[in-house]
Symmetry: C2
Subunit: 220 residues, 2 copies
DNA sequence: CTCATTTTGTTGGAGAGACAACATAATTTT
DNA sequence: AAAATTATGTTGTCTCTCCAACAAAATGAG
């Protein structure tokens, strides 16, 4: 198991690697591997545990009645997912968690985080604070997705997404972590329409792109 | 101040009214009143405190560059808002919190909740767990909004929203807390188009409504 | 390298919703 | 009660996106 990554994760921030390793026992942590495409958590089912992604990539997606897929968010190594459902007793998952690449996941019992030895071990309070920060952070991510899908035109959505990404990275040129189809699913638009609009935006001098490398042209 | 409501809120769940009242001091709680339409928290600004709504109604909204307004969620008495921003250090608000009715709000310092006397007072651990549950719950609400705005047609969005609301209330007939304009903003569609589609759905026998009272007709 | 598969880009037709402008109903004010 | 204001419903035009079908490019396998 990758102790280093665990100690550096948001969840275990501020906790020494040794202490973190010791806590894993207490938290009933279990590591599990998933091949590309596997479902880690299924829409409509109860969520027994939160997942800490050790390696690979996970997409949080939702399929509607007509087969359209909407990507809620993308999870990278060191990030937590499904923690909100696990933290609300009785909640069923509204989404699927699917391995976008072959992935290794550390499953953690949230109720253990909340209830076991809250005063006994010195780092437990820190762990709970960290968990709260993770959930709050996820909140902001969801709010961002809402922001990016609020504009009524594809161009508006693309600009909302790309400018936020640009600000987040602090660069005007960057790689996006989505394929065209995935970006379309994230922005809730048609892939082919997205491709067409991207081409038009490039011709209009708003952006430049090649594959997943985008660059924003700011000329007021 | 409404001690009863505070003690019954999700944040103070499981904490005795007396204990809760005592904690308010420690948490630097301040009550503030806002007239209808007032901004409680402004988009782009830092968020110093979380808000616990004591009376009235608050809408979490976002305005885009073109003046379109998107309603993120609706806050009722006893509910918490702005807590996610307050819980992530350095985060600026992506949204406005605006008083939809004349409102009274209890402002709470989140860092106080997280850091002061974590072991000293017996109920503090409970308070932190409650805060986590609130943030997680908010998470699910945001996920629901994403679900309701994912369908590409107005009818799909309306059905997604109304059926979720029906399931939540456990009834087939219920009042919605939004005006037409607000529902349109929540679903990210045009008000007039929403009105037209609602009328069509009624003619198609899918729903019945009068003002804000809706009723779902299920005939497969 | 060649072939198969996947990903991305292109186009045209059909349809849905935005937008504006107006009509009607409901609510509030005086 | 009348007038003013606000909320909701109606209609037609025009734009944008979906959808389907195809073309081209990129990737992977043998």
């Amino acid at each position: 198991m990758n102790d280093k990554l665990i100690a550096q994760s948001d969840l275990f921030r501020g906790i020494s690697p040794e202490e973190a390793a010791a806590m894993l026992h207490c938290l009933q942590a279990v590591e599990r591997r998933y091949p590309k495409g596997a479902l880690i958590c299924r829409q409509g089912e109860a969520v027994p545990a939160a997942g800490l992604l050790l390696s690979g990539e996970v997409h949080i997606v939702q399929d509607d009645l007509w087969g359209n897929q909407s990507i809620f968010s993308r999870i990278g190594p060191g990030e937590l997912f499904s923690e909100a459902y696990a933290a609300v007793p009785g909640a069923v998952s509204l989404v699927n968690a699917v391995a976008a690449q072959e992935s290794s996941v550390l499953l953690l019992s949230v109720s253990r985080i909340l209830h076991i030895c809250p005063s006994a071990c010195a780092f437990h309070a820190q762990l709970i604070r960290n968990l709260l920060a993770c959930v709050a952070q996820k909140n902001l991510r969801l709010a961002q997705k809402i922001t990016h899908t609020a504009p009524k035109t594809i161009r508006g959505r693309v600009l909302s997404y790309l400018s936020a990404e640009s600000i987040r990275r602090g660069k005007r040129s960057f790689q996006i972590p989505f394929s065209r189809q995935q970006l379309a699913d994230y922005l809730c638009v048609e892939r082919s329409a997205l491709s067409a609009e991207l081409g038009k935006m490039q011709r209009d001098g708003l952006i430049e792109f090649r594959k997943n490398a985008f660059s924003l042209k700011t000329q007021e």
